[in-house]
């Protein structure tokens, strides 16, 4: 009954009410605008529905199925989740490896990019050059970076170990050949990409009000105190942003391990996403991999929620109650 004008925003009204509402009925122009707007957005809407929304929904369904990508999916209930939690030793190992990266790699990366940003926030000649220099690695393709670092991290002839030996370190680490050092090696390599976070910090540092700095200076605050009580609180929303993005990124850590170690030595770099990939594309257990993906989603969601909850206590939004 109301199909035609329903698109105009009066869905659910019937004929009786129409006369009362007629003044609110959108004009032809508005309806045309809406239609045109939808038409213009259609490529994205269709793309989103077909390539994102549908696959997400399908993967949830597949996670309850046995699915080898050749024959149709078959419902198996919670089987995949049960196998994952109770029988797959690599699931736990990979989760543990990933949490390791989150717990150690993420803070190290955050501190490093903040440190570099602070250094590059000085007023020095040629600062733009240095900033570019530090930012460059983060736009280098990860695969290229990984291959380069394979050489740098070579235990016997790599530059890093040669340098360590020159410095008098007798027992140089085996880096990617040693399960105890493989994750630190990847974290070390990750620092090379600190430029991405650095740029965001740099932008935020420009926003720290001069007036506050001056006031602190007049009150006799030292450099450390100014950093602790002015810069850091002003930066805290950006730190939160970098923390959340870093958290999500760390849980999805994949490319470097795929390219450089393939999960070795001794499973020490089998990260969650790598294990998921192997289950999906080597074993072709798409249902199981979908279940893993949803578990990862829930874990990431929980961690992000925790961080966001805690943020009320340490993030300061300028202007808020000021």
């Amino acid at each position: 009954m109301t199909t035609e004008h329903g698109t105009g925003g009066t869905v659910g009204t019937n004929g009786i009410h129409e006369s009362h509402l007629s003044h609110r009925r959108p004009s032809c122009q508005a309806r045309r605008d809406l239609r045109n707007g939808l038409l213009f957005a259609a490529p994205w809407l269709i793309g989103f529905t077909v390539f994102i929304a549908y696959p997400i929904a399908a993967s949830l369904y597949f996670s309850f199925c046995e699915y080898d990508a050749i024959r149709g999916p078959k419902w198996v209930g919670l089987d995949n989740y049960r196998t994952m939690l109770l029988e797959d030793d690599l699931f736990w190992k990979s989760l543990w490896n990933t949490l390791d990266m989150v717990a150690f790699g993420l803070p190290v990366g955050l501190v490093a990019s903040l440190g570099i940003a602070l250094l590059l926030n000085q007023r020095l000649r040629g600062m733009a050059f240095y900033r570019t220099l530090y930012y460059l690695p983060s736009i280098t393709p990860i695969v290229a970076t990984s291959i380069l670092w394979l050489w740098l991290l070579n235990p016997q002839i790599g530059l890093i170990n040669v340098l360590l030996q020159k410095l008098g370190v007798a027992n140089v680490p085996g880096w990617l050949t040693d399960p105890a050092w493989s994750k630190p090696a990847l974290i070390l390599m990750g620092l090379w990409g600190a430029g991405g976070g650095m740029v965001i910090y740099l932008a935020a540092l420009q926003d720290v009000p001069e007036a506050l700095m001056e006031a602190a200076l007049l009150d006799g605050a030292g450099a450390l105190q100014r950093f602790r009580h002015v810069t850091l609180p002003m930066l805290s929303p950006v730190i939160l942003f970098n923390l959340v993005m870093g958290l999500i990124g760390s849980f999805q850590y994949f490319t470097q391990a795929y390219v450089m170690t393939g999960g070795g030595p001794q499973d020490s770099t089998v990260f969650y996403a790598l294990h998921l990939f192997n289950r999906a594309f080597l074993d072709f257990r798409m249902g199981y991999a979908s279940a893993m993906a949803w578990a990862l989603f829930l874990i990431t969601l929980a961690c992000t929620a925790l961080v966001l909850r805690s943020s009320a206590r340490w993030v300061y939004y300028a202007g808020e109650g000021a």
Partner: protein, 448 residues
């Protein structure tokens, strides 16, 4: 109804806007343009066969030349060859199967995957076709290859190439270490002794050269007399005592040598088949490799004084053991013209083309007739490799659907024993339990 009337009443149609039928014209034109592209135009002339190959570069060129020759000699058929190389090429195969959009013939299936595909019903069994042209798999092919092409009693693929494994050794290093280069090791004990004799350290205890480091538990288990799967009982045999013995022997190298240092030393020389691979630059005396080694040595170390010997074996083990795998030629179930596809496949896997292809790319022919031809028998290394492939101890991947997973897990167990110092018995017991469960799960899934 009411709504429509209101809308018309409001006169929403813009003046000058074409009426409905007129507006449809561009759409109709578009459809008219697109449709002929979708329709299959009935064509006269040769039947076309689409062939996906996993080979690329030089090897692809030779496949293409063979295809051209086939097209010349078979005027009623026309084969179109496409290269789908690399991991993405082999993954594309799975997607093609899923969508039923497969070519007519393909060689882009790894021997490891054959059973998985066959059991899922996406491959054409070739038994009837073979019978029709009078071919006999077991009589024509090497035993390892014939075994791997049969899944649950039926033939699902044919092979044009196979590989062997043996140990290449540096004769100069043997001489320097006081070993007789004309009497390479024949037993595991002799191999261990030779490995130790060839190893050299610097003053700090770093490796200058290592004799040998065993790798590839999948193969060494066969050398020790073990196996991974028993086809008669359809049982996983991961913890066969002889498999355990093989892994124990491999792990013994970690006790005899500082394995971390050896690992670090090895990585220094990049991968084994590059210009500075440790064997080419004289940093290892022995290299677990195959007949393809010859091409690399010719390219990277043409002056190397080298020889080869079959994998040494322990008492009760298997002499002349070799493992093979590689690409398999299949006809997908979705193929529209199976007779034509088989005509091509039959030709491509006959002695002539197989001989030429294997000679050109330096592989071993899986066909006994091709391997027995002078081109292979005149050259000592080729004759040796052909002998290994044709011997009774040549093994292909077991025809079970979980083999890709199983093979990866064998690799993990090997690493855990040799690098992680874990107990071989425990590792293989655990592997046995997990793979039994995995096979049961796969069988359940396939039975549905």
């Amino acid at each position: 109804m009411q709504g429509r009337q209101t809308a018309n009443h409001r006169g929403c149609l813009r003046p000058g806007r074409p009426t409905r039928p007129v507006r449809l014209v561009p759409l109709l034109v578009a459809i008219a343009l697109i449709l002929p592209g979708c329709a299959r135009v009935p064509h006269h002339g040769p039947t076309e066969i689409v062939y996906w190959t996993g080979w690329s570069g030089h090897e692809f060129d030779i496949q293409r030349r063979l295809v051209e020759e086939f097209n010349r000699t078979h005027p009623d058929l026309r084969v179109r060859i496409l290269s789908q190389f690399g991991n993405s090429g082999y993954q594309k195969v799975r997607i093609a199967f899923a969508g039923g959009a497969t070519p007519d013939v393909m060689s882009t299936v790894w021997a490891d995957e054959l059973a998985g595909y066959a059991r899922r019903g996406v491959l054409t069994p070739l038994d009837d076709y073979l019978k029709r042209v009078g071919r006999d798999l077991e009589r024509e092919f090497t035993p390892g290859v014939a075994r791997m092409l049969r899944v649950q009693g039926r033939v699902y693929g044919l092979a044009a190439t196979t590989n062997t494994c043996f140990i290449a050794y540096n004769r100069a290093i043997f001489r320097e270490a006081g070993l007789d280069p004309d009497k390479p090791p024949r037993t595991i004990e002799e191999l261990d002794r030779a490995a130790l004799a060839c190893t050299r350290y610097d003053a700090q205890g770093n490796f200058l050269r290592y004799g040998f480091r065993p790798g590839g538990l999948g193969t060494w288990a066969y050398v020790f007399g073990g196996r991974w799967y028993d086809p008669d009982t359809n049982r996983i045999t991961a913890n066969d005592p002889r498999n355990v013995a093989a892994l124990r022997w491999m792990a013994s190298y970690s006790q005899r040598y500082d394995i971390r240092k050896m690992e670090a030393f090895q990585t220094t020389f990049g991968s084994t088949e590059t210009a500075n691979g440790p064997f080419f630059v004289g940093k290892t005396a022995m290299w677990f490799t195959g007949e393809w080694a010859e091409q690399y040595i010719r390219r990277y170390a043409p002056n190397l004084d080298w020889g080869w010997f079959p994998l040494p074996y322990p008492p009760g083990g298997r002499p002349n053991t070799t493992a093979s795998g590689g690409s398999v030629f299949v006809i997908p179930e979705a193929c529209r013209n199976k007779d034509a596809a088989f005509t091509f496949l039959n030709w491509l896997t006959s002695a002539g083309p197989v001989e030429r292809f294997c000679l050109e790319i330096g592989n071993v022919p899986p066909l006994i007739e091709a391997g027995n031809r002078p081109s292979f028998q005149r050259d000592p290394l080729r004759r040796f490799a052909v002998g290994l492939a044709q011997g009774v101890n040549s093994f292909g991947p077991p025809p079970i659907p979980i083999w890709p997973t199983y093979a990866r897990e064998i690799g993990r167990a090997e690493e855990a024993a040799t690098l992680g110092g874990k107990d071989p018995q425990e590792l293989l017991d655990s592997l046995q339990r997990r793979m039994e469960k995995e096979l049961k799960r796969a069988e359940r899934e396939l039975a549905r």
